[in-house]
């Protein structure tokens, strides 16, 4: 995996209307290769960030680049590098899967129809079937196959797992990881389901209320974060945020190298890491967003 950033955001802010800030000044550099999970609650700005990279949203402030190219200046070149899976699968009701592949070839002559078809064959999704009759999971798989068929080096997936059942989510992630590993592509997968992305992703970006709360590799995030229960001693300045545990107890996420961890702390799961950061970034009522 290269450390060269392929997706970058510099002081990126996006406002909708006069008052609603979706992003409030994001600096982010996602390196080439592997799968990065973009995690955050609803309305955290995940979709806005991805859509800005695709060129669908215009930044209010700052800019983004894809492989060094600003999509606002050269959207065509950016789209040549990117395969995009939108939030809802959004296929054409009146077309079959085969028609979708034909349409993709028509819109992008270099689209690898055979590759996309092979991917769908492996999942047992018949190409002649109408898009309207597909299950949610199958529609997501078709959307992924369309993105993979572009043979793009960057895949941007905007919450494709949101409406899928656990089995469909697992299948989707399996296809995605297989494709990314075998093609050496870079994928950014936004989701608010942490347990799923834990197995599939190499890196983790936690986005809360329009700002980046954590950006780390999954392994480092797991190795350096710990949980302290109520009453346990937490090292000064190491506490990230507190949140309620499953039994109502108060848990505090602590960032600390493994070498200096006391006996009161236990390793945090990835979900707990995310919860701790989201708790730290919670908006205080009345606080200005930007």
């Amino acid at each position: 995996m290269s450390t060269e950033p392929i997706l970058e955001a510099h002081d990126l802010a996006k406002r909708y209307g006069r008052r609603t800030w979706a992003l409030t000044g994001i600096d982010l550099a996602i390196p080439q290769g592997g799968i990065t999970a973009l995690v955050g609650p609803n309305a955290a700005g995940k979709s806005t960030l991805i859509k800005t990279w695709v060129g669908f949203e215009r930044p209010t402030r700052g800019n983004v680049t894809v492989a060094g190219i600003d999509p606002q200046k050269d959207r065509s070149s950016v789209l040549g590098l990117v395969g995009y899976v939108p939030q809802s699968p959004s296929l054409y009701d009146g077309l079959s899967i085969e028609d979708h592949l034909d349409l993709a070839v028509l819109l992008r002559p270099e689209f690898d129809r055979a590759y996309a078809l092979r991917r769908l064959d492996q999942l047992g999704i018949p190409a002649g079937q109408g898009a309207k009759s597909l299950s949610g999971g199958q529609q997501a798989q078709v959307a992924l196959a369309l993105a993979l068929g572009t043979r793009a080096s960057i895949l941007l997936l905007d919450e494709p797992l949101a409406s899928l059942d656990p089995l469909a989510r697992r299948e989707f992630l399996h296809v995605l990881t297989d494709a990314v590993r075998s093609e050496g592509a870079t994928a950014l997968l936004s989701s608010h389901i942490v347990t799923d992305v834990e197995q599939a992703c190499d890196r983790l970006v936690v986005l809360g209320v329009g700002k980046i709360l954590l950006h780390d590799t999954v392994s480092d995030a797991l190795a350096t974060h710990w949980l302290a229960t109520e009453g346990a001693a937490t090292p000064a300045g190491a506490a990230i945020g507190s949140f309620g545990g499953p039994s109502g107890e108060r848990l505090t996420l602590v960032r600390q190298p493994a070498s200096s961890v006391g006996p009161d702390l236990r390793p945090a799961s990835l979900e707990e890491v995310v919860l701790g950061y989201l708790a730290s970034g919670r908006v205080v009522p009345g606080e200005a967003a930007a």
Binding site: K51, V54, F56, E57, R75, S76, L79, G80, V82, G83, Y84, P86, S88, S90, L91, Y92, D93, G94, L95, D99, D102, L103, A104, V105, L106, L107, R108, F111, A143, L146, T150
Partner: protein
Amino acid sequence: MSRIGSWLILSFKLHRWEVLAAAAGVAILSAAMLWFTWQLRALSATDPGCVDPAAYAPGCSQLGQRFYELSSKAELLSYLSWLSPFVMGLVLGVPLVSREIEHRTAGLAWTLSRSRTWWLARRAAFLVLVLVVLLLVVAIVGEVLAFPQMPAQHLDRDFAWYGRRGGLIVVRGLAALGLGILVGAWLGRVLPALLVAIFASVLIFSGISLGMDRWMEGHAIVQAFDADRAGGRQLGERILLPSGELIDYGELQRRGLAYEVIQDDRLWARPEDIGHMDRLIGYDRYLVVPGSLYSQIVLDESAVVGGTTVLLALAAAAFVRRRRPG
């Protein structure tokens, strides 16, 4: 399959309901118009003298009555052919972008296609093709019906059924298509876009029509009220003052030249003024574009509507380039 074949099939599938509805509408309208053409021609063949209003032969009353009835119904149909370009242009144009946004498929299409302008051009090209073919049928059938409906007139030099026959139907349809695409791209929802596009098309085409009337005044001639205006297009009444100045009735009122009596084509302030030429207000006249200018006026209006279409298409492309996919 060739790329063109694939483009045609996929484009049809994406617009099948609008295309089928438009084709069915044209088929029904054309069939009805051709039936009237056949009926009117059959009557003309029975006794040509009975269908010429200028020379009704004796003993024609039944045939003439039948011809008149059919002719009136055929004229009603011609209003449908006048309406068809606006209806078809909007029905085909509005959903092109708005449905993509409403159904959230724009995100898929606009990332697969590197250029939204090309995407729009390809999609619109299919609709242009469909619209031109269907409206050409309406335009030709309109001409075919007009001949037996007005057997005594030279329709290539006649403003009768203006906009209800001939190429203007096709040109107006393309403008309506452009307007539909633009409004659809702007609003991003099919039904509201259709309603707004209907309203906008009334404004735009009324504006063009009024503008054309004003522009045609430059080509019009002044005719006495009893002159033969066959084939001409009457733009309105005017008053020819004794000084030779030509004014409209509004201007006449503004000048305080009230008249009480019109005798033949002469306007008098009071009944007792009749015959006193020094008290004559003016002569009632008609402003008429001669029928000989029919082809030129059709070409001129086609150029204006065509230019409007280009502007609408450019605006739609600019809008789609900047639009959020929903």
